[in-house]
């Protein structure tokens, strides 16, 4: 295990350059949001004039927008003036060693099978996930650069590749897209940027770990991934947050752009702090994710495992603009205790012969409320468009709830689309069968739930799939609740 001082040393060396939250400046902006704050963020980031202009336009437009209320989640009104929009990444109350970490969290990590070194990282001991990003970047940066692949923090991209950023930023999720995207555009502090040049197949998974550390801050990061003609990239995103008893807002924006024959695979394991057993605290995960299959024969694929967050409210979407382009959405959303999830996808078929697949698995336990909401829209001229959607819900316990709201719009007679949904509980026969073979009710339930999710897990890169499986078991926290 690398000693902490070495890590800190590395950190110190890498600051600014590769830091995921790249600014280690100590001062935090005052609470609240106004044009000065937007200017301040832009100044801190040393952003060019056009970028500040763009932020300000976003901010001014955001002021005219109202917070959407149509979702199937409930939360107390968010005071947007009570959030720190720019904070130094240093943890407020540093934890010195693992012994100081809440034993409950350590248990959790032990169950997840995360090695000690990683445990430290996840528990927020001195360093956070920034390190991970840095090490990935440093270890492989040369190799990636050889292939012409750019993978860096957003701030760095703005400085070093302004043309690419300017060309693509906001083309998939414009700042006037929705309330939270507008807010993000105005105040986002950092994020990831990846560009894969024509004909290059990215030889490794690009990955970022997101963390929310400081209290009272909102996290607004932005990810922009561009796969040029014939390129392929697989991107992983993992999210964790320390335990806090106040709610924190996370409003990120992810934009994917796939040009001719390119493919982007985007996988998420979202394990933000979900709040405690009584629903206190936790992250509000209000994220706008959208991929544009711009070129012919391009492909955008979303895979998500959503186990954390007090409220998850997001719809990773695909705009299938290029002819023969393909969109995919594979999702497992699990809610327990008082968690709420309103998630799903949008597939907009514009190009000819476009195809999309939606597989969504919702699991509700405790007092959780799980909603699948999706839209499949087949525009006029999207001849031979094809969609298949399947969304299944599994209910564990009598106090949880599952909702399904698909919306299907077709303006093209040659299109074919199918939607199926089912809701049921774990079969008594299945449980009995397992128990008859000496498997405890908890293990049996776990097994059945994992089987239920398998279709989606298979789409994850292998290590992630293993983690996701364990995470499901832990999030369900079945001990004592079944049998």
């Amino acid at each position: 295990m690398v000693s902490k001082s070495v890590i800190q040393e590395q950190m110190a060396k890498q600051e600014y350059k590769y830091g995921f939250v790249s600014d280690l400046d100590e001062d935090t902006a005052p609470k609240g949001l106004n044009e000065d704050i937007v200017r301040l963020i832009s100044r801190k980031k040393n952003e060019p004039e056009w970028f500040l202009e763009w932020r300000l336009r976003a901010y001014r437009h955001w002021l005219t927008m109202k917070e959407p209320k149509w979702s199937n989640v409930t939360y107390p009104p968010i005071n947007y003036q009570d959030i720190i929009y720019y904070a130094a990444p240093k943890p407020k109350k540093p934890v010195n060693s693992l012994d100081d970490v809440d034993p409950e969290i350590r248990n959790l990590y032990a169950k997840l099978g995360i090695p000690l070194q990683e445990q430290e990282r996840l528990a927020g001991v001195a360093v956070d996930a920034v390190l991970d990003s840095v090490s990935v970047a440093t270890t492989f940066k040369d190799r990636l650069a050889e292939l012409g692949i750019i993978f860096c923090s957003f701030s760095e991209a703005v400085q070093e590749h302004p043309d690419l950023v300017r060309k693509y930023l906001g083309t998939v999720v414009p700042f006037n897209d929705n309330f939270f995207a507008g807010l993000n555009s105005a105040v986002f502090s950092d994020g990831s940027f990846a560009y894969v040049p024509p004909g290059v197949r990215c030889p490794m998974e690009l990955s970022t770990y997101f963390r929310i550390n400081a209290q009272d801050t909102g996290q607004f990061e932005r990810t922009l991934i561009i796969a040029d003609e014939g390129a392929y990239v697989s991107y992983l995103e993992g999210c964790t947050a320390p335990i806090r008893d106040t709610n924190q807002l996370h409003a990120a924006v992810v934009e994917l752009i796939a040009l001719d024959n390119a493919e982007i695979k985007y996988s998420t394991i979202q394990n933000w702090y979900p709040g405690d057993k009584n629903g206190k605290g936790g992250i509000y995960n209000f994220v706008t994710k959208r991929g544009k299959a711009l070129g012919a024969n391009s492909k955008v694929s979303w895979t998500q495992v959503e186990t954390g967050s007090a409220i998850t409210w997001k719809y990773p979407s695909c705009i299938l603009q290029g002819d023969n382009s393909v969109g995919e959405f594979y999702s497992v959303a699990l809610v327990n205790n008082y968690q709420q999830a309103d998630t799903g996808t949008k597939m907009l078929h514009i190009g000819k012969n476009t195809r999309s697949t939606i597989i969504s698995k919702g699991i509700s336990a405790g007092y959780g409320r799980n909603t699948y909401r999706g839209r499949v829209q087949i525009h006029k001229g999207a001849t031979n468009a094809r969609n298949y959607s399947q969304c299944d819900s599994l209910l564990i316990g009598s106090t949880c709830a599952a909702f399904t709201f698909p919306d299907i719009q077709v303006q093209e007679p040659t299109a074919q689309m199918e939607h199926e949904a089912s809701t049921s509980k774990i079969g008594e026969e299945q449980l009995f069968y397992c128990q008859a073979r000496g498997i405890t009710p908890e293990d049996a339930t776990n097994m059945i739930v994992n089987g239920f999710c398998k279709q989606v897990f298979l789409k994850l890169p292998m290590e992630f799939a293993v983690e996701a499986q364990k995470l499901i078991g832990v999030s369900l926290n079945l001990e004592g609740t079944v049998g």
């Binding site: 149509w70 087949i378 006029k380 819900s393 209910l395 564990i396 316990g397 009598s398 949880c400 709830a401 599952a402 909702f403 399904t404 709201f405 698909p406 919306d407 299907i408 719009q409 077709v410 303006q411 093209e412 007679p413 040659t414 299109a415 074919q416 689309m417 199918e418 939607h419 199926e420 949904a421 089912s422 809701t423 049921s424 509980k425």
Partner: protein, 452 residues
């Protein structure tokens, strides 16, 4: 039946109806309790206003034309010109039925006849019932169809003066179907009618009720119908609603069904006419053991809009609902299916199945399908499925390879798509009639009739 010159007047439709109520409140009459309900309803209507496309349940339905036209209720006592021959096409061949006819929402005794009915069964005009037995009605009328959040139900509640009253007492089986025929006709001015029907099924009773909505182009009419059904314990109701208004007509209908223990209701809706047709079916299981079959077929062409909204509320445990809606859309028509299954917290052992299938025949037709499940209980089996597509080219090819020309092949397949719903009609003459109607709407469908 005669050309109508419509003047587009841009007035606030809502205010027009509110003013209309103020001036006709006295004429509408009815018992004291009903007058109070009417008042509440118009107040509620005024507060709600007409829905816009921003309203979740009206997102794809454009009411602009409906609201632009100056609809007036038909003037009482003025001849409407409807004679028995006009209604012949809306009957079911050899089928013997008791028949109540309503013209522009008012009972027309000269066109109606009652066959002998089992003892205690009452099939009558609601207006007559309101005069003779207002207190019998108070227990049920306006008790099921809620107007609190539905402006059209509110409007109907404020304005209805007549409709059908069907009561089947405990343990009675009515063998012959009861046919309720609502004809809409207008002369110079667009006419509005607000028919209101009440169907009361006693414990263990059984009946078949058919509602037909008829009209003739180019009459511009607006029918805003509400049917309330209370299905008593272990009762069996077979209900058909066949909407064949003119393609110049506007049709908005709400049906509310409350089901008691072990009751069995099947409600079939066939929507063919209307420039705008909206069907809202709201059913509620208030005691365990009920079963519901909800079938629908909408077939549109030209610039028709067919909007189907269903809400099945599983309040009580151990109830079963099976829903099948199919749409065939041609021309520039629009079809909407919005289905909602709501399973309340303690409604364990619920089985709910919802299917919506749509066939698009033209490149300018549009369909929106929004099935929905809201489930708050865990021991349930619920699923829904929805498909939108065109005719299977392989199937067309198969038929053509057997010497059937392209048009006939397409007709056969379109007919086959509709037949799944039609086949569930239990009354043979009604089924045959619907078959003919579907076939006649296919391009050169007469030929198909022979092929089949």
């Amino acid at each position: 039946m005669r050309p109508v010159t419509t003047v587009a007047v841009s007035v606030d439709a809502k205010q027009t109806y509110v003013a209309e109520f103020a001036s006709s409140e006295k004429e509408l009459g009815g018992p004291k309790w009903l007058r109070a309900v009417r008042k509440k309803a118009i107040e509620r209507f005024e507060a709600l206003g007409f829905p816009t496309q921003k309203h979740e349940h009206w997102k794809y339905t454009n009411l602009a034309t409906l609201l632009r036209l100056p609809f007036k209720p038909a003037i009482l006592g003025r001849p409407d010109g409807v004679v028995s021959e006009n209604l012949e096409p809306f009957k079911f061949g050899v089928l013997k039925t008791s028949q109540l006819v309503f013209v522009n929402g008012r009972y027309a005794p000269r066109l109606s006849y009652l066959r002998s009915l089992p003892e205690g069964v009452r099939v009558a005009s609601l207006a007559e019932m309101l005069r003779s037995e207002p207190e019998t009605l108070q227990k049920h009328l306006t008790q099921y169809a809620r107007f609190e959040d539905d402006p059209f139900v509110a409007l109907n509640t404020a304005f209805f003066s007549d409709g059908a009253y069907v009561e089947v007492p405990k343990g009675t089986v009515v063998g012959e179907p009861i046919h309720l025929l609502f004809a809409s006709t207008s002369r110079e001015l667009p006419i509005v009618a607000h028919p209101r029907n009440l169907i009361l099924m006693g414990a263990g009773s059984q009946a078949t009720v058919i509602e037909t909505y008829a009209g003739w182009a180019p009459d511009v009419t607006f029918t805003n119908a509400v049917t309330e059904v209370a299905a008593g314990p272990a009762s069996v109701l077979d209900h058909y609603k066949i909407q064949r208004e003119a393609e110049t007509a506007f049709h908005i209908a709400t049906m509310t069904v409350h089901q008691d223990r072990d009751s069995s209701v099947s409600a079939h809706s066939v929507s063919l006419g209307g420039s705008l047709a909206r069907n809202y079916v709201h059913t509620l299981f208030r005691a365990p053991g009920g079963s519901l079959t909800l079938n629908g077929l909408y077939m549109t062409g030209g610039t028709q809009q067919a909007d189907n909204y269903t809400r099945i509320d599983h309040v009580a445990p151990a109830c079963t609902s099976i829903e099948l809606y199919r749409g065939i859309l041609g021309g520039k028509s629009r079809g909407v299916f919005n289905g909602n299954i709501y399973v309340r917290k303690d409604a364990q052992k619920t089985v709910a199945r919802q299917t919506n299938k749509n066939l698009l025949l033209s490149s300018e037709a549009f369909v929106d399908s929004t099935p929905g499940l809201e489930i708050l209980a865990d021991d349930v089996k619920c699923n829904h499925s929805s498909t939108i597509g065109q005719l299977d080219e392989n199937a067309v090819f198969y038929l053509r390879s057997r010497g059937i020309d392209e048009e006939a092949a397409r007709n056969i397949l379109t007919y086959a798509f509709a037949v799944d719903v039609i086949n569930q009609v239990k009354v043979a003459p009604v089924r045959i009639k619907l078959d003919q109607l579907v076939v006649s709407r296919l391009p050169r469908g007469a030929g198909l009739g022979e092929t089949l």
